[in-house]
């Protein structure tokens, strides 16, 4: 880890340079992070509302061995190969997480923790094995653990942006259906919606978002980008459509801010910064949000206290 000046005048200079878009690569990083933040928050919203908030954590951790295996097999880090490897092992993780509680005594929470830690151990083992190998192009593989947006290539970012836009588009198109399924599965089934297919599709979108997020946010903290924005957004408004918009804005803003930080301090990992920015948004919403924030509820409680009790 290289050292960097924490408070320095050059940070401000770099910020200005960043916003003048002098660096084409930085612009791509910005676009990628914002799109990733938005798509992850929207997809994550449905998982949180289905009371399955930490599924993203397990999916992200299970992507790691796939990336490593893909590298061992094809000895390349080209974005499509990485995407393929990560997706296949994430889906395997999804299957294991689903299968364990249904067929054994193991409870869902333990199944999630087992999947997460087992796949992560596999991935780390493969990574340490690769680092002992004598092959070219292995540097940077460990960057997917904590994310390093500044180190990404424009071609990675183009794939990322395309996938993120596709995910956002699909969610917008099928929003009505998913809303119905999320809030009333039985009714959705009774009017002839193929609920199972939409579930699988949503899981697939989630895997896709997690996988494209690996290089920016990293395996370890991807869960936060999926679950924090919607959790913060729920304090702002009761309606799902509005919640999704607020979540997308929070996710996009945190992507924007962390891309900026990543440009100023390229040696530090991006993922943790993004999570800290999100945590800031969460705390702010928790206290100040107009619908169910702490302040508003306090005021409401105070005004509802009836004079009879005095």
């Amino acid at each position: 880890m290289a050292d960097f000046e924490w408070v320095s005048p050059s940070a401000w200079m770099l910020t200005k340079a960043f916003w003048r878009f002098e660096d084409a690569n930085a612009l791509w990083v910005l676009i990628g992070s914002v799109l990733l933040g938005m798509s992850a928050s929207v997809v994550g919203s449905f998982a949180v509302l289905k009371r399955n908030a930490l599924i993203g954590d397990a999916l992200a951790h299970s992507a790691l061995p796939g990336v490593m295996m893909a590298f061992i097999l094809f000895e390349t880090q080209s974005p499509l190969v990485v995407l393929f490897g990560a997706m296949s092992s994430s889906l395997l993780g999804l299957f294991l997480m689903d299968w364990l509680p249904k067929n054994t005594k193991i409870k869902p929470d333990a199944a999630l923790a087992i999947t997460l830690s087992f796949f992560f151990a596999l991935g780390l083992m493969a990574l340490s094995y690769i680092q002992g190998l004598n092959v070219e192009g292995k540097s940077g593989l460990d960057k997917i653990l904590f994310g390093q947006a500044a180190a990404m290539l424009p071609e990675d970012l183009m794939v990322l942006s395309a996938v993120a836009m596709g995910v956002l588009l699909l969610i917008t198109l099928l929003f009505q259906k998913w809303r119905l399924i999320t809030f009333n599965r039985q009714y959705a089934r009774s009017i002839g919606i193929w609920v199972k297919a939409y579930d699988v599709l949503l899981a697939l979108l989630m895997v896709l978002v997690v996988v494209i997020g690996l290089q920016i946010v990293g395996v370890v903290l991807m869960a936060a980008v999926l679950l924090v924005p919607v959790s913060a957004a729920r304090f702002w408004h009761p309606q799902l459509a509005v919640i999704l918009w607020v979540a997308a804005i929070i996710g996009g803003l945190s992507g924007l801010i962390s891309a900026n930080i990543s440009y100023i301090a390229p040696a530090t990992p991006t993922g943790p910064w993004m999570v800290l920015v999100l945590a800031g948004f969460f705390i702010f919403s928790f206290i100040f949000a107009p619908y169910q924030g702490w302040l508003v509820r306090r005021i409401r409680q105070a005004s509802q206290r009836s004079p009879l009790h005095e």
């Binding site: 908030a53 193991i106 340490s128 169910q292």
Partner: protein, 287 residues
């Protein structure tokens, strides 16, 4: 000799994790265990920054405080009707862990920690950091730390075995019998935090989860009583350490990760055997 120290340390760490893990799995707190093992990183980093040097005591205190803070904060957040339990866990531990990683990156020059050792642990280097008493070397520091925590775990769980059992299987009865459930819950969280600190050196912050949850879950599949489950968890943990070490030597891979993989492998093996032995539904109908 070095191999023996590494194996002994790993085995103690795995045993501590297995014992505490059993209680976590039974109380369906696996995810809280996951969260605490991540948050402990922040406690360790803060202890480094406050003390300015490596101090086991400060690390312990920092880690336990952070572990309890995580457990407390998640419970506090859950009181809000708009936050589910898994959301509260996810928000708290990711923020703490992120803060820990960022602090490590910012104070890279001052802290003798890096992202590598957060992830892998440094069990291969355990034998080189020894405790010296007078002239004589007493063996690795991490070994003694792991031994101390293991003894604490054994003593606390041994003394309060019946209480933990009651809380695991019948929390409401425990409450009605006048057991101080919050106190014993906090005690369990303290044990988890202590175990995680002791494991941090050896296996890193993240693979602790594998050792906490996987051997205990394997034991859950085969055992029929709490005592037996703890016994089985210890057996699974020791097997994982031995096989994992062998795997690491064979593939020249990270020791801690290989131990985690073997723990998972043993769980899958147990599952496979159970599925094969399970009487088929069709056979049941015939009899």
């Amino acid at each position: 000799m070095n191999d023996i120290w590494i194996l002994a340390t790993a085995s103690l760490v795995a045993s501590s994790c297995a014992l505490v893990g059993v209680l976590l799995v039974l109380r369906r707190l696996s995810l809280l265990g996951d969260a605490i093992s991540h948050s402990v990183l922040l406690g360790i980093v803060l202890a480094y920054l406050v003390m300015g040097e490596r101090s086991e005591m400060a690390m312990m205190v920092g880690a336990v405080l952070m572990g309890l803070l995580t457990a407390g904060l998640t419970q506090l957040l859950q009181k809000n009707p708009h936050i589910q339990s898994d959301v509260s866990i996810g928000v708290v531990f990711t923020s703490f862990f992120a803060l820990g990683v960022v602090l490590i990156a910012i104070y890279a020059g001052q802290i003798d920690l890096d992202q590598e050792c957060v992830l892998y642990g440094e069990i291969a280097f355990v034998p080189f950091d020894t405790v010296v008493w007078g002239e004589q070397s007493l063996g690795p520091r991490a070994f003694w730390l792991a031994l101390a925590v293991f003894l604490i775990n054994v003593v606390v769980i041994g003394v309060a075995f019946e209480r933990f059992k009651l809380m695991a299987f019948h929390p409401l009865l425990a409450l009605s019998l006048g057991l101080s459930v919050p106190f014993w819950h906090a005690m369990l969280m303290t044990l988890v935090s202590l175990t995680t600190v002791a494991s941090f050196d050896a296996v890193g912050a993240i693979l602790v989860v594998a050792l906490l949850v996987i051997p205990a879950s394997s034991a859950y599949l085969v055992a029929t009583s709490l005592k037996a489950m703890m016994g089985w968890a210890l057996v699974y943990a020791q097997l994982s350490v031995l096989l994992g070490y062998g795997l690491a030597v064979w593939l020249d891979s990270a020791i801690a990760a290989s131990i985690g993989v073997m723990a998972g492998g043993l769980l899958l093996l147990t599952l496979a055997i159970q599925q094969l032995l399970k009487p088929k539904a069709s056979q049941l109908n015939l009899s």
